[in-house]
């Protein structure tokens, strides 16, 4: 199937942005976005058109606590959302261009890495890619007979005051089962939970936790979900 044909490219981008492209098709599309700049650009075109629809909604001011939690997570101090002094604008175009260039370079490197992973890694029976909102790969997870291997991508921006925890979501509706903490960089091996052979797994989830992992055995803040693909 040629994803670069204009009509097909637009149809997929539109449904991706709308949200009706789901499950495996959505993940495959995210991977295509990493590989083809044309597909990324088509997606942006649709995002900028369709997301203007959101202006139809009446604004709803979130409670103050939302900003407080954001500033806490980012480690800010004393930045109230109200009563802010006007920003004095500075010249910053050089840094801006440099940062944009760096981001583009990082995206290109990622695309190359992804293609290598797809073509070289043929042995593991199951894999999953945990992706961020903008389809950037954050962790690559491979599961074989005994072990879960997790590689953190360079895209991951580790948080010093939190850990990331991996969870298995079973189809039978039981509470998510912790599989262990994810690496913030490099590679880590986790023991494969015995339940893998006993229940049907519908998703893996990644949560943000206090250092050391979930305090109560349940995910605190679910950040991402992904599904296992059998190769």
């Amino acid at each position: 199937m040629n994803y670069l044909l204009e009509a097909r490219r637009n149809a997929l981008a539109a449904e991706y942005v709308l949200g009706t492209l789901q499950g495996g098709a959505r993940r495959r599309y995210q991977q295509l976005m990493m590989q083809y700049s044309l597909i990324r650009e088509t997606t942006w075109m649709w995002e900028q058109q369709i997301n203007d629809l959101s202006r139809q909604l009446d604004p709803v001011t979130p409670e103050e606590v939302v900003w407080q939690k954001i500033s806490q997570r980012l480690g800010f101090v004393d930045v109230p959302a109200g009563n802010i002094v006007p920003l004095v604008q500075k010249k910053k175009s050089a840094v801006w261009q440099w940062a944009t260039g760096l981001a583009t370079a990082a995206a290109l490197i990622l695309a190359v890495v992804l293609i290598r992973v797809q073509t070289v890694e043929v042995t593991p029976p199951q894999v999953a890619v945990v992706q961020g909102e903008k389809a950037q790969a954050l962790w690559l997870i491979e599961i074989d007979d005994e072990i879960i291997r997790v590689k953190a991508s360079d895209n991951l921006q580790p948080q010093l005051n939190n850990d990331y925890e991996l969870w298995m979501v079973a189809k039978d509706g039981r509470a998510p089962v912790s599989l262990g903490l994810l690496p913030k960089s490099g590679q880590l091996e986790l023991a494969k939970h015995a339940l893998f052979e006993q229940v049907e797994i519908v998703a893996l989830a990644v949560s943000l936790e206090p250092l050391g992992g979930s305090p109560n055995g349940l995910p605190t803040t679910v950040l991402y979900t992904t599904e296992l693909m059998t190769l």
Partner: protein
């Protein structure tokens, strides 16, 4: 004007200027929260999606390019994708009500709100009413094809076709 103001704040945010980021939050959070609340319905989930989105925006401010639309549409994309992920997660866990039926209020016969760009409003108005309803339910409520079908009491194939043709019409009308 709005876009220029947001861009100035986002550029300063990319240089780790916390005050600029706080001002960007002030200027945009009510719109972002409205999008998130409409999709996720529950206040605590909607707040979580907004928090995640702004954390992401702080870290990725330098990745914005004007080719990605206005700063606000770029930010709305981030919160919508986050809300879609959360919605799917909670549905898998059986924690989310399928749909609470508040979408009808969106189908205002008098057309779209003034804030929606004129061309987009015009193109949406030109759609068949079924196509418009199906696209609205998917966009604002994050519904899948199947869920739109349940709500509009139409078969899956029909819904897929309404959405596909509706999007094709929008593409032509908006010259995408």
């Amino acid at each position: 004007m709005e876009h220029e103001e947001h861009l100035k704040l986002l550029q300063a945010t990319a240089e780790s200027n916390q005050e600029a980021f706080a001002q960007l939050y002030e200027a945009t959070s009510a719109q972002m929260y409205a999008v998130s609340l409409k999709m996720l319905k529950r206040k605590e989930w909607a707040e979580e999606a907004v928090q995640e989105a702004y954390v992401k925006i702080w870290h990725n401010a330098s990745e914005y390019q004007t080719g990605k639309g206005t700063v606000l549409t770029w930010m709305v994309s981030i919160v919508r994708y986050r809300a879609l992920d959360m919605l799917r997660y909670h549905k898998v866990r059986g924690e989310s009500e399928l749909f609470e039926g508040d979408g009808d209020s969106l189908f205002n016969p008098d057309g779209l709100a003034e804030q929606v760009p004129e061309k987009l409003a015009e193109c949406i108005d030109e759609l068949d009413s079924e196509q418009r309803q199906a696209i609205h339910l998917a966009y604002f409520n994050g519904l899948s094809h199947g869920e739109v079908g349940l709500h509009l009491q139409s078969p899956l194939g029909t819904i897929k076709s309404w959405i596909r043709r509706g999007l094709q019409s929008l593409q032509r009308c908006l010259s995408i």
